[in-house]
């Protein structure tokens, strides 16, 4: 190793790390969204499926994917030397929920990315975060050629609670994704305030 020892005595900064999940159906643009704001090319990490996962490991239709691993793409945003935000794309298929449980633990919140042509693909994710009262927002990825629907129509179609923000975005655009993330963190703050209030009453 060629790491210099010149910095001896000056311990490296140990950052506070936070994570945001990016969920949604297969091919909706999760990795694109992560890549748009990440300071590193999205990295891929894999976990091997445990034997208990095997009986339900039906890979029909995704034959090209490995049958033994589940991959997650993630990116990193260094907000400050001592504050680092990670974005994790959740594994596409719902059967990988055991990974979602681990990912969502301690998560700041989640972005559910939706494609209006296949809105039903994000039902599972919406349901998942609702049940665990993890703050989330729905971000409609405006694909070229897809019809534009007002946010209100998407809210009704997904039967979302009034408090859940619905925003339009372009997952390829850094500025657009930044706004989505800021919207989510704001929502997480409101969510936390509501919970504190509820706890007091």
């Amino acid at each position: 190793m060629i790491f210099g020892r010149s910095e001896r005595g000056k311990p490296p900064v140990e950052p506070v790390t936070l994570k945001i999940l990016v969920a949604g159906g297969f091919g909706v643009g999760k990795t694109t969204l992560v890549g748009a704001v990440s300071e590193i090319r999205p990295l891929r990490t894999e976990e091997q499926l445990s034997e208990t996962g095997r009986p339900v490991d039906d890979t029909s239709g995704v034959e090209s994917k490995s049958t033994t691993t589940v991959a997650m793409d993630f990116g990193r945003i260094t907000l400050r030397e001592d504050l680092v935000l990670y974005l994790f794309g959740t594994p596409g298929q719902e059967r990988f929920w055991f990974m979602w449980d681990e990912l969502s633990e301690g998560a700041l919140g989640a972005v559910v990315l939706a494609d209006t042509r296949r809105l039903e693909d994000c039902f599972a994710a919406v349901d998942y975060f609702e049940r665990r009262s993890i703050p989330f927002l729905v971000s409609v990825n405006c694909f070229e050629g897809a019809d534009r629907y007002p946010a209100e129509a998407v809210r009704q179609a997904l039967d979302l609670d009034d408090g859940v923000p619905v925003v339009l975005c372009d997952a390829r655009e850094r500025g657009s994704v930044k706004e989505v993330l800021i919207g989510l963190v704001r929502h997480a703050m409101d969510h936390a305030a509501d919970r504190r209030e509820a706890a007091l009453n």
Binding site: E14, L43, T45, Q48, R76, I77, V84, E102, L108, A188
Partner: protein, 131 residues
């Protein structure tokens, strides 16, 4: 294994995927005694007074690589797994070994119960705006 004649001698086939190799690095262990549940964003920091890990015969090249990577800058568990192209489960065991050997320590991410801390969330918003 793909040779026809040989394949029949194995109790598993190619469809089983590479089930053996990664965990051979951990000598078959899927947990380690020092392994507290390591979050994917837990940060691994090399101890400043950690000696040369290569001189420890009990450590594998992967152990040594983790110590080296985290000496330059602290790394999250997810980043280490991606960097070493190893499954997260394997990396967790290796990190557990290194914690046990006192070569690295792990900083826990903000505990879930304390997470919605307003000042941190405000810092995140300001940080995102400044990007």
């Amino acid at each position: 294994m793909s040779e026809d004649g040989q394949a029949r001698n194995h109790w598993f086939d190619d469809e089983a995927g590479p089930v053996v190799r990664p965990y051979a690095m951990t000598r078959g262990r899927t947990t380690s005694p020092a392994q507290h549940r390591l979050d994917l964003i837990a940060v691994v920091v090399t101890e400043p007074d950690a000696g040369d890990p290569e001189s420890d015969p009990g450590l594998s090249p992967e152990h040594v690589e983790i110590v080296g990577l985290c000496r330059g800058a602290p790394q999250s568990v997810a980043e280490l797994a991606a960097e070493l192209t190893l499954p997260i489960g394997v990396v967790r065991v290796l990190i557990g070994d290194l914690v046990h050997a006192k070569l690295v320590h792990v900083t826990r991410p903000v505990p879930p119960a304390e997470l919605p801390d307003e000042s941190i969330l405000r810092d995140v918003i300001n940080g995102l705006r400044a990007l």
